[in-house]
Structure formats: structure tokens, C-alpha cells
Symmetry: C2
Subunit: 312 residues, 2 copies
């Protein structure tokens, strides 16, 4: 009997994923009946979904052993009371790599002061202000999950003194890992450059509010490729206007696309990037989907299963 897999992640994604999922299943010797058409809910073994997914009511899928999200963020799925089946978020190795590259690229951009030169192609030889070496530029990473942990390790490998902070205590070689409310204050106070990669939960809503922004060193830079909800936008804009925060590079927003009249676009101390830090790559993500289908059918422990209590 093939595993019945309902691709409910939306018509936009079906052409990107159908081939890779079939190919990885064939390579794994896994027999699947994959379709994006609405099936008999009671016959479905696995549902593949995404933020634009087509299933709102998961209750009729009584046999489903796995709801596999194609995105790392599962806020909306966790908030859906009909979804009681085992839920897994995507941890795509290519997504982790993309995120690491985005974080290291933008941290180095701010560390080196590259923008001064990109904007300064006017014949003036601006060689008087040299950056310190990375080992004298403290970076703090909030969130030490798959993405934050990988970014912290990559920054430490480039000699940045890295402080990491997470809800529960972590251990990462070369990173000073802190936890809890006191740990957060210490982590913020050290951050010449702050990277925010905590998950979006009730606890992290407006994590960077006026009080916490005030803990950052004068002129600190913020790089937020995590979640738009982590930032109290009015408080950040006030801190940027005052020059207390030197720059913010923001990839995620409470409303996306960021509306053209949002003050972030025109702010000289803000760089908006359009939620590109870590896209899911269909080929590598499909390999994860297939492995989790195999595990679900075999009754084995699922990869990256969501803990409903924590919310991620």
C-alpha cells in the first residue's frame, strides 16, 4: 500500500515540489501516492502544508500521521485548534545555509562599514576610519535553534566574540551561551551587532521593546532576519531617530510585503530586505519531506516535530 500524501501547500508550490518529492521518494524506495487534488480526508496518511496552504480544518484527516510544513515558522498552524495530528516544521539544510550566509554577510557589511563605500563612489578617498578586527567587535545572537546556532558558530569562526541567548540553556563551542531574563540583559548590553533569530511565540512578541533596546550599546546595529513580531517598530524607529541605534537591517515585518509608505523604507538608518534571508529550497526540503513520510509510515520518531507547549 502506498502512503497517501496530500500536497496541500498551495497551487503555487506544487510545480516546484512535485518533481523533487517524487524523485526523492523513488531514490528512497518509498511508495507514495502523491496528489495536490483534494482527496478523501479519511484516506490521507500525510499532509504537506505551507503558510498559503489550502486546508483550514484538519479534523476530517483522521488517519493522518504527519502534517509536514514546508516553512520553519509554524505560528498559524499551532494556533489552529483543529490540527491535532503530529506537526513538523521544515528544517531545510539549504535554508540554514542561506540564513547563515545572510547573517554573516550583513554582519560583515556593518562591521566593515561597506555602505560608506557603496554610497561614496564620488572620487573621495575615505581611508581614515578603519574598522577594528572582528575579534574586537562583539556580536550577540538571540535564539540558538537550528538557524541561530548555525549563525553563531559561523560568526565565531570568523573571530567575532559571540554571545548567544536562548530560552533554555544551550552549549555551543566558541559561543558564550546565556539564558533567562538576566542572561538577556547581559547579552543585549554586549551587542555591538545584534542578530535576532528567536521563534515567534507569545513570549517573544515585541522582545525588542523600548526597555530592551535601551540596553544595547550606543550606536549598536540590529540585523533581524527572524520574525517581524520580535520588534516594537515604534520603539525601534524612535531609537533610530535618536541615533541610539546606529542601523537596522530588517528582513521580516509584521505586514509583508512591507507597505511602500512604511517609515522603514525611507529611514537613512534602515535597510529593508524583502524576506529573502532564508527561503526554502524545494530540492533539499523535499528530501526532508520524504524522510519524514518514511518515518511516519514506519512509526519512527519524526524530524523537527513541533512541541505545542513551546509553540515551535
Amino acid at each position: 500500500m502506498p502512503a497517501t500524501v496530500y500536497f496541500a501547500a498551495g497551487a503555487d508550490l506544487w510545480p516546484d515540489y512535485e518533481g523533487p518529492i517524487r524523485r526523492h521518494a523513488a531514490a528512497a524506495g518509498l511508495d507514495i501516492a502523491l496528489d495536490d487534488a483534494a482527496p478523501d480526508p479519511a484516506a490521507v496518511d500525510v499532509i504537506v502544508t505551507a503558510p498559503g496552504g489550502v486546508v483550514q480544518d484538519y479534523a476530517p484527516f483522521t488517519r493522518a500521521r504527519l502534517v509536514q510544513n514546508l516553512w520553519a515558522g509554524v505560528e498559524r498552524l499551532v494556533a489552529n485548534p483543529t490540527l491535532t495530528q503530529p506537526l513538523c516544521r521544515m528544517v531545510d539544510p539549504a535554508m540554514t545555509e542561506s540564513m547563515t550566509e545572510y547573517v554573516v554577510g550583513h554582519v560583515l557589511r556593518h562591521h566593515l562599514g561597506i555602505d560608506v563605500h557603496i554610497h561614496g563612489q564620488d572620487g573621495v578617498w575615505r581611508n581614515t576610519v578603519l574598522p577594528p578586527v572582528a575579534r574586537n567587535r562583539p556580536v550577540t545572537v538571540l535564539g540558538l535553534g537550528e538557524l541561530g546556532g548555525a549563525a553563531a558558530r559561523a560568526l565565531a569562526a570568523l573571530n567575532f566574540p559571540v554571545t548567544g541567548w536562548s530560552r533554555s540553556q544551550k552549549r555551543i563551542d566558541g559561543v558564550d551561551c546565556l539564558a533567562g531574563p538576566e542572561g538577556l540583559a547581559t547579552a543585549l548590553s554586549r551587542a555591538a551587532i545584534l542578530v535576532t533569530l528567536v521563534p515567534d511565540t507569545a513570549e517573544t512578541e515585541s522582545l525588542l521593546n523600548a526597555d530592551r533596546l535601551a540596553l544595547l550599546p550606543e550606536g549598536a546595529t540590529i540585523v533581524n532576519p527572524g520574525r517581524g513580531t520580535l520588534i516594537d517598530d515604534a520603539a525601534l524607529l524612535a531609537a533610530l531617530d535618536a541615533g541610539r541605534i546606529g542601523h537596522a537591517t530588517l528582513d521580516v515585518f509584521r505586514v509583508e510585503p512591507l507597505p511602500p509608505d512604511h517609515p522603514y523604507w525611507a529611514h537613512p538608518r534602515v535597510t529593508v530586505t524583502p524576506h529573502i534571508a532564508a527561503a526554502t529550497h524545494p530540492d533539499t526540503a523535499s528530501a526532508v519531506v520524504v524522510e519524514n513520510i518514511r518515518r511516519a509510515m514506519a512509526g519512527a520518531a519524526l524530524l523537527h516535530r513541533v512541541d505545542r507547549g513551546r509553540g515551535y
Copy 2:
């Protein structure tokens, strides 16, 4: 008897170096008589120099056991026929770190397409073109000495497939090291992003001429923090005008500061940075100077001694 050390690197540098050299000498228990005033040449044990140094004729320094340059580049010193004393170039650990940070920062900037967003803060959500992950973006590093080797290692650690090329065959874990004329053609043909860190010698003058630029893949990016003389400027400008080369980020030039009317400044495919990739840091460089004074006085092998035959 203290070692007589003549600081001949110029009045500009004396205030930056006097304190650090004295401090490192004291810490090492090394007795030195350090001065920047012209001494009796025959009494000098060590000459510290730099590109703007004040000694032109080294012949009268008959007792000198060491001429220590404060810069990595020694072209002018090697070309000085009066300089027959042991000559050492500076390999400052902080300089190697700065160079690595510059190279990784600018390679990631081009890899991620950061400029599109820095220039595009206009309310348009440009999220359709995503970069590949680094492991699908081949980078070539020409020159695998102290600086090129460190840059190649750091890029490989970020998953870039790195090809390295050097005059003599090198071995670096995770880097495909090539050598010789055929190796150069192969290395250039692979370079989605090319980093040039070869020393400035007669052999490397205009290394990137029209023929070699033609070997690069269509749309390749060049990052040159090495030497201005490596590039045939007219050939590069022609390749940029034709769009054959996608972008060049250049830190070094045949004439510095780069004249305000030089076509590089205004070229939309060129980013000029003002010879900032790897400045010498007085504190860490002074530690190297003091260690070489100690070795010179003890008759031990000198660090980073220049091979006059190779020219570096």
C-alpha cells in the same frame, strides 16, 4: 648592550609605533635603544621601515642584522640595490584577519546581491531573485600566501567551492589548489567570484589582462584587495563596459589615492574602496617587530624573511 633599533618608517608612524614597540620589548625582556632620529649608521642593529620610510641608501648600515618592513608589500625595498641586509616583510596577524574579513564580506555582498537592496530602499519588494546557496557559487582565490590562504580557508568554511591558484603548488584542506599556467586557466574558468591576492612581482604585472579576463565565466565578479598592478585597467574597463564582467570591487590601484577623474569611480559596475582591506595594526605588528629583533640579536631564523629571488 641594548639592541640599537632605528625607526626609519617615517614621522607619521612614529607616534603609533613607539609605545607598542617599547611595551612589547619590555614584556619580552628585550633591551632596546629605540629612536627615530638618524643615528650613526654603523651602530644600528635593526632598521624598521615602511613605504614612506626615510632611508634610501642602506649601504652605510654595515652592522644591521635586520630591515623590518611594517607592510606586507616589499616591492620598492627589493628593488633597492643598496639593501643587502636580511629583509623581512610584515605578516601582522591582525592584518591577515582584516584581509579575511574584507574578502569574506565582499564575496558575501556579491553572492547575496546586497547592493540591490542598499540601492533599492524605494518601497519596491524585490524578492523574486534569490541567490543560490554558497555551495553552488564557485569562488577562485589567486595567491595562496598568508593572506590568500587565510581567505580561501574562510570561504571554504562557509561552503563556497573554492579553487586556489598559486605560483608553486600548495595544499589547503577544503580548497582545490592549482598551480602553473594551465592551473591558472582552469582556476579562472571556474570563478563566479574571483579574489586576487597574489604578490606584486614582475610575473604578476597585469596578470588580469584581456586574455585572462576572457577566461572568466560570463558575468563574473572580481574582488581585488591585492595589488593595483595585477590588473590591466583598460582591459578590465572594456570587459565591464561589455557586461562580460559583472562587477569589480577594487581596493588597490596603480596610483593611490585613485584620482577623482579615474573612470573606476563613476563606473556603475565598479566599487572603489580606498586601500583599507588590510591595514597594519600597530599593536599586533609591534609584537612581530619585537620578536624579529629578538631573533636577529640571537642569530635565530627570522620571521617572514624575504626571498630576493622570488621578490617577496
